[in-house]
């Protein structure tokens, strides 16, 4: 099976991984810079806290570095790293139970949307974060992988170890729940 929709597959990664394994530790910075933005977004959405997300992403990057020789397909380093991060997010989510319910507001991104009223968009965005936080972890994970990371169900199944049918059901229920929660919030 080839992960081709949302997860990165880069020939360049194999060359960088080879450099790192040959002792050029500094080359790993290229991979860090390359993947941090996409993966930070997933971690923030999944964990609901920028601090937790940074911790999870840093831990995933360090784990990946220390186990780089075990990356069987360096061209798919991004997919492999994402799997590590997803597992780490699951562990963090289970341990903390999302008790803190911290919501991330990216004021810069909100203000960039000049075609809408910033205050309205900020409120809408906060409602989305709250609704997302009220999904159970499995539904939130499935929703984010499908609709934010744009993965196919086969990719999601490979990543999570959950069957395609179960994932479809989780996404369906997550969408239904998000719709209800957001419609309630908007009165």
């Amino acid at each position: 099976m080839t992960l081709s929709q949302g997860l990165p597959v880069q020939n360049d990664d194999a060359a960088i991984v080879a450099r790192v394994l040959a002792g050029d530790t500094g080359a790993y910075a290229i991979l860090v810079a390359k993947y941090r933005a996409q993966f930070a977004r997933y971690a923030v959405r999944m964990l609901g806290s920028r601090e937790d997300a940074e911790e999870a992403l840093q831990d995933a990057l360090v784990r990946a570095y220390r186990s780089l020789a075990k990356c069987d397909d360096p061209e798919r380093f991004g997919s492999w790293l994402f799997r590590i991060l997803a597992n780490r997010c699951r562990t963090t989510g289970t341990r903390r139970g999302r008790r803190e319910k911290t919501f991330v507001r990216d004021e810069g991104a909100l203000l960039d949307a000049a075609h809408e009223h910033p205050a309205e968009r900020a409120a809408w965005r906060e409602e989305i974060d709250r609704a997302l936080a009220r999904l159970d972890a499995e539904q939130r994970e499935a929703f984010l992988l499908k609709h934010v990371e744009d993965l196919g169900y086969e990719e999601m199944s490979e990543l999570t170890g959950v069957g395609v049918s179960a994932l479809k059901m989780r996404v369906k229920r997550a969408c239904e729940r998000m719709r209800v929660l957001l419609q309630e919030a908007q009165g």
Binding site: Y28, A37, A53, R66, A69, K70, V104, D106, W124
Partner: protein, 197 residues
């Protein structure tokens, strides 16, 4: 279940969630700084248990694993406690790790010899990979008398994860050693190294 039809409402929600997030400006530097230092176990700061007093029995689940390995033509006898050169026995559990600064006045790293043994007489090549060699294969020598592959390394006191690499392709855990959960699809074996008394 069929694919759901395109949902404009959900697409609108997803669009918001696809907005990038900002990380701390020092994030990359923090990650890179955390790669270099070696790690040792907090256990090294405690009074060690003499190796001859440590538990030598094989837990029941491990016996089952050993049986499975034997079926495949591979069996491991793990680390030998009473090797002539005083090798350290492999046994233990996961420990909290602490990073050691590279400052000149840090404590000297205490090491102990550890012998790894893997019984696989029909295999042409066995190597040892682990956190202690950055998962770079260390060749193991075949001992014809014992029909086993051996290598002895001097490892820092603490807990180390490792696997055996068979013929350069097959990763195998040590069925006689404890294992740790892994994010990478397969568990690692654990060796706990204590100072030689």
């Amino acid at each position: 279940m069929n694919e759901p039809e395109f949902d404009l409402f959900i697409a609108k929600v997803a669009r918001e969630l696809k907005e990038p997030v900002e990380l701390d400006a020092q994030f990359d530097a923090r990650v890179m700084a955390s790669l270099a230092p070696a790690v040792i176990s907090l256990d090294s700061r405690r009074a060690p248990t003499p190796w001859y007093r440590r538990q030598l029995s094989v837990p029941a689940p491990i016996a089952g694993l050993a049986a499975a390995a034997a079926f495949a033509g591979i069996a491991a006898i793990g680390m030998l406690a009473r090797e002539p050169q005083g090798s350290t026995l492999a046994a233990g559990s996961a420990e909290t790790l602490v990073r050691v600064n590279d400052s000149p006045d840090r404590e000297a790293v205490v090491t102990a010899p550890v012998q790894f043994v893997f019984v696989a007489p029909s295999t042409s090549r066995v190597e040892l990979i682990g956190a202690f060699n950055d998962w770079q294969p260390t060749p193991m020598a075949f001992d014809a008398a014992a029909q086993a592959w051996r290598v002895t390394l001097s490892l820092p006191v603490g807990v180390h994860e490792y696997q055996f690499l068979i013929n350069g392709t097959q990763h195998v855990v040590d069925p006689t050693a404890p294992q740790t959960a892994s994010d990478f699809g397969s568990p690692n074996s654990i060796v706990k190294v204590t100072p030689v008394p």
